[in-house]
């Protein structure tokens, strides 16, 4: 009987445990993480912060606080991995043996590298503990400064606005998330944030967080301006947690390098989720994903391979759909890079595959209440960004994923008009048959 150990209780780890239990009902499965709360919906934290759901709603599959997978969950930090002797060292817990190991340690929020970043009142939204901490001090907060250009930062902005706080949002570029969005898209979101009372500061970074008696009292910006605040929310990006793997001499780059079977350079050690950088034999590149569903699929694929069932990671286009500034936004497939703002951390809720782009043309249609950008080659769609009305987003996702031949409508897509939605919908129906 095999002994399986999984480090990390995010969706990749949980999905692996669930799959392993399905494949081997009697196997020994150990889940180890330093997050005392085990598996919960990390993206759901944003809605816990806004007050849309109570904390207990974050825990699917738990009945009376217990998960019914017959796995052993240990709260501990894994301090060392030795692939040769098939052992890990845990604190607390000492040395443990495994037959097959999955590293699903995820990615953690990158800290601010400025003076004052250790002050009380500097927060992020990485874990349930982070969210609990924000909510525990929220009644003492009047004004917050948020920094960062992606999903995590805007979740903090929206959560604090919803909690009735005055929010200053600092953006280092010309517009919000300029590595993903073009200006028109970003302005739709920014406009809604301003309507909600958020003060935007473009081309602005924090140079110093100011404190008094160990607590945040303001920030000094790159322009020398001082903004008074009692909370600083950091959402500048995430870093895959690769330290354990590195120390064990596993091959790493931005994440832990794995083949399409999610296997590291050590045959009995696998990696999945935000921490994994997966080789794609088609593109010849290894990329990371910071998305929930790919992490779940990776956990499942790793589990199959850990049991000896050879299964390659089934790639589909990366999709994220979420509300930003109240604007429903879908990001599908390869959409290229907007602006290169220098070395930045990976953003939570994003995928490196979005930035892989062959020779393509972008076409854009804006109707004021919605904005559609299509990235197309001569024969197929590579990606799409849809803000606002989502009526055709599912159809576009399927057309991109299925690599539908768009030659018959190519010219119509290049000259988008009000009939664009109908053209896409009609063609989708036709190709579906």
């Amino acid at each position: 009987m095999s002994r399986y150990t999984i480090i990390g209780t995010g969706v990749a780890g949980f999905s692996a445990a669930q799959t392993l239990r399905g494949l081997e009902p009697k196997a020994e499965i150990k889940l180890i993480s330093d997050d005392p709360h085990g598996y919960y919906s990390r993206p759901g934290l944003a809605y816990y912060l806004t007050g849309e759901i109570p904390e207990k709603q974050l825990f699917p599959f738990y009945k009376k606080g217990k998960i019914n997978l017959d796995v052993q969950h240990t709260v501990a930090r894994v301090t060392r991995l030795d692939p040769k002797s098939h052992t890990i060292e845990m604190n607390p817990g000492g040395t443990q043996e495994y037959d097959q190991l999955l590293i699903a340690t995820g990615a953690h929020s990158a800290p601010m590298d400025v003076p004052g970043s250790d002050l009380k009142g500097v927060v992020t939204l990485d874990s349930l503990e982070d969210t609990r901490h924000i909510l525990s001090i929220i009644r003492h907060i009047k004004t917050a400064v948020i920094v960062g250009g992606g999903v995590l930062a805007i979740e903090l902005v929206e959560g604090l606005v919803e909690q009735g706080k005055k929010v200053h949002y600092l953006l280092r570029g010309d517009w919000f998330w300029s590595t993903i969005f073009v200006e028109a898209e970003s302005r739709m979101i920014e406009h809604r944030l301003v309507e909600d009372g958020v003060t935007l500061h473009h081309h602005t970074e924090i140079k110093e967080i100011l404190g008094k008696k160990g607590k945040v009292i303001g920030v000094r910006t790159s322009s020398g301006e001082v903004i008074r605040c009692d909370m600083v929310g950091v959402g500048i990006g995430v870093r895959p947690q690769i330290e354990l793997a590195k120390a064990a001499n596993l091959q790493t780059d931005r994440g832990i390098l794995v083949n399409e079977y999610l296997q590291t350079n050590e045959p009995d050690v696998y990696a999945a989720g935000d921490v994994a950088q997966i080789y794609n034999p088609q593109s010849g590149q290894s990329v990371t994903d910071n998305l929930w569903y790919p992490a779940r699929k990776q956990g499942r694929t790793a589990a199959y391979n850990m049991t000896g069932q050879h299964q390659a990671y089934p790639r589909t286009v990366s999709v994220n759909v979420l509300k930003m500034g109240g604007v429903m936004t879908s990001i599908i497939g390869s959409i290229g890079t907007g602006r290169d703002e220098g070395p930045v951390y990976t953003t939570r809720g994003s995928s490196e595959t979005w930035k892989q782009l062959p020779n393509t043309i972008a076409t854009e249609l804006s109707t004021g209440i919605s904005n559609i950008r299509l990235i197309l080659g001569q024969q197929k769609l590579f990606g799409a960004i849809i803000l606002g009305d989502q009526k055709i987003s599912r159809q576009l996702k399927e057309m991109i994923n299925d690599q539908v031949d768009i030659t018959p409508i190519h010219d119509q897509l290049l000259q988008p008009g009000p009939q664009l939605g109908k053209v896409i919908m009609d063609y989708w129906v036709k190709t579906k048959k």
Binding site: V11, S41, P43, G44, A46, Y47, E52, I53, P54, Q57, L58, P60, W292, Y293, T316, V319, N320, V321, L322, K323, M328, S330, Q390, S393, R394
Partner: protein
């Protein structure tokens, strides 16, 4: 363009001849859907399993669709009752 069938009739017809369908790959398991279901269907579990919400108790009230912040859920006409009528 006028239609012999009003939009409201169309809407009600859809509600009684369809059910809620999840797009699993968009779901982040936040549970807002299950939380907003007035009769306590665990919509989230259906989404995790990639199953349509075919629970006979489902009112097709649309609360889960309305509240989902990720656009995971939509109505799909199944024609189940139309077929039964024939």
């Amino acid at each position: 363009m006028s239609s012999p069938v009003s939009n409201e009739t169309r809407r009600i017809r859809t509600l009684i001849t369809g059910h809620v369908v999840p797009e699993t790959e968009k779901c982040i398991q936040c549970g807002i859907c299950s939380f907003s279901c007035p009769i306590g269907i665990d919509v989230r579990l259906h989404a995790w399993n990639g199953e349509d919400i075919e629970d006979p108790k489902c009112l097709t009230c649309g609360e889960c669709i309305e509240h989902c912040p990720r656009g995971v859920l939509h109505f799909e006409v199944t024609g189940l009752f139309n077929e039964a009528k024939q």
